[in-house]
Amino acid sequence: MARIELVGLSKAFGSVVAVRNLSLTIEDGEFVVLVGPSGCGKTTTLRIIAGFIDANAGEIRIDGRVVNDLEPRDRGLGMVFQTHALFPHKTVMQNVEFGLRMKGMPALERAQRVREVAEMVHISHLLDMMPGQCSGGEAQRVALARTLVTQPSTFLLDEPLSSLDAKLRRELRAECDRLHQALKRTFIYVTHDQEEAMTLADRIVVMRAGEIVQVGTPMEIYSDPVNYFVADFFGSPSMNLLAGEIVQTNGTGRFRGAGLELALPDRLKSAQSGVATLGIRPEDVGVTLGGNGDIALPVRLVEPLGRDTLLYFDAGTERAFIAVSKGLDMADVKVGTRMALSLDPRRLYLFGADGRRLAPS
């Protein structure tokens, strides 16, 4: 059981600041996902917690105890690496029991524990194999077992699924989730994949350039992003973001962009005039063939996905304006067809010139 507090952590590598004054509390048993683009400092943060990197400033506390000066092995943590980091010259069995052996556990007891854990993550049939003979998914299960067997208070997972194919990723994601439910331990998971973050996390920590941008539940992050970066980063397909400006006339705000002019809903109409970006998620855009809408745009590409159809519209920008239509009703729409799009006023976002969300709800 472990509650982890990071207080004012900073780390620089030469002149490059990797983590800047980061503070975060992770509650006992929580599944927290650190997410952000490459170089945002998420892995550095995880490695500082693990003890592989010393912070230049700040404190790491585990259950109230400052652990900055403790060796990684004395922190009671377990870590799963992106590259699996299995010992290639040891069998799967020897890999899994390594941690127990280091603790001086007798051989019989070790074998018993390894068998239990192997069963839990379905690797019993691999125990006599060498890591080199395992597939990527199997290797990651072995790595997971090697960590599980030592019963750490906290699991640190550094992009554990990023080297696997999509199907395996989904499978192992579910596995991680199941393990978290079963073990009720603290999980800190690093990924650059927003979908992984959304599906796994109790709380998501969005990072950028060494700083925390937003902390919240997946739904909070998705539906209430604090800025342009978070709005753009989460969601697949991404949020539609149209550059333009807010014009105030007689106390009524209007948004004016390329080929689009639209009255702002009540909650946004007091937004100050100036450069702004209008955002709306693809699923909040209504599409009709004919009829009226807020804008009319020509279709650039149609992607029927089965359950939904993605419609890409030409909004005069490099990035297409995307709408999701349920089912396959729109699957036969011809490229170039002009369609009327209505934007759900309750689901509109406005971002200022500095990227900050304007008039958040």
Binding site: F52, P72, R73, G78, M79, F81, P88, H89, T150
Partner: protein
């Protein structure tokens, strides 16, 4: 010329060049082996005998076992102790090489992981090896004389260990650099101490590299001549020194005996090479292919 023809031509040229090179490289070895089986009348014969006719073991029996009937010939050498030299060489070269690889690899670990030596210092370390041994032998023999290390195994082991250490550090460092940090970190977070991680994880992972380094240094120490000549006198002689006794003085060059001794010096290295050939191939190509 069509592509397939051009490819065949390239292959032919390549094989011709490689075969030529192999002939040049192997001829001295062939000549050494052939001479070692020749009776004394054929050592200097012109036109030369490429193969001994008839082959004889007399050179071997005389050199290695000081057999009386052969020792009585005009080419016999009085001090017959190559077997003792073989034992000395094995102990000296073996110990010095082991020490060098062991200390070198631990030092290399420090350089690779903790940068205990900067790039410049590492280069300077290698530069130490560039100093010709002749420059250091005079002061060294003075030191050794004071320390009572002259003509002793310890003295030779020590100097061989020190002079080959730079190679050991450089070679093993390149192998350690290839071991992903994460593998060590995994061991650490699972509870292994730093030393345990080195001996249980890192060194076994680079064993092919260690073997390649071992053989390289063994060849250096096994065949070292100058330092051995100056530092040793009568108590401890190594095989290269023994070999030098068979040329010159009153009898002229006793090629057959010398060849028989040289074959004996070469064979142990070949045996070691054969025993570890699996590791050698991996060791010398370490890091060239992504595993």
């Amino acid at each position: 010329m069509r592509k397939s023809q051009r490819r065949r031509m390239t292959a032919i040229v390549r094989y011709v060049l490689l075969t030529g090179w192999a002939v040049v490289a192997f001829f001295p070895i062939f000549w050494m082996i052939s001479t070692s089986f020749k009776p004394d009348t054929q050592w200097f014969a012109w036109p030369p005998f490429y193969f001994p006719h008839p082959p004889t073991l007399s050179n071997y029996l005389n050199v290695w076992f000081g057999a009386e009937e052969y020792a009585a010939t005009q080419y016999a050498i009085s001090s017959q102790k190559p077997l003792i030299s073989l034992l000395n060489s094995t102990i000296i070269a073996g110990t010095a090489t082991l020490l060098s690889v062991l200390f070198g690899s631990v030092m290399a670990y420090g350089v690779s992981r903790y940068r205990i030596l900067s790039e410049t210092r590492m280069f300077q370390l290698l530069m130490l090896r560039m100093i010709p041994p002749i420059v250091i032998v005079a002061p060294l023999s003075l030191y050794y004389s004071t320390l009572g290390l002259l003509d002793s195994m310890t003295g030779l082991i020590l100097i061989y260990f020190l002079t080959t250490l730079p190679y050991a550090v450089w070679m093993t460092k390149s192998f350690i650099d290839e071991v992903p940090r994460e593998i060590e970190q995994a061991a650490e977070i699972l509870g292994a101490s730093r030393w345990r991680t080195i001996f249980e994880i890192v060194l076994p992972l680079i064993r092919s590299g260690l073997v390649a380094t071992f053989l390289f240094i063994l060849i250096l120490t096994w065949s070292e001549y100058l330092l051995a000549l100056i530092i040793t006198k009568t108590q401890v002689t190594t095989l290269p020194i023994e070999l030098s006794k068979y040329q010159g003085t009153t009898e002229g060059r006793v090629y057959g005996r010398q060849a028989a001794l040289a074959v004996g010096i070469t064979i142990p290295l070949m045996i070691v090479g054969l025993l570890i050939r699996k590791h050698l191939a991996r060791g010398f190509s370490f890091g060239m292919v992504r595993r």
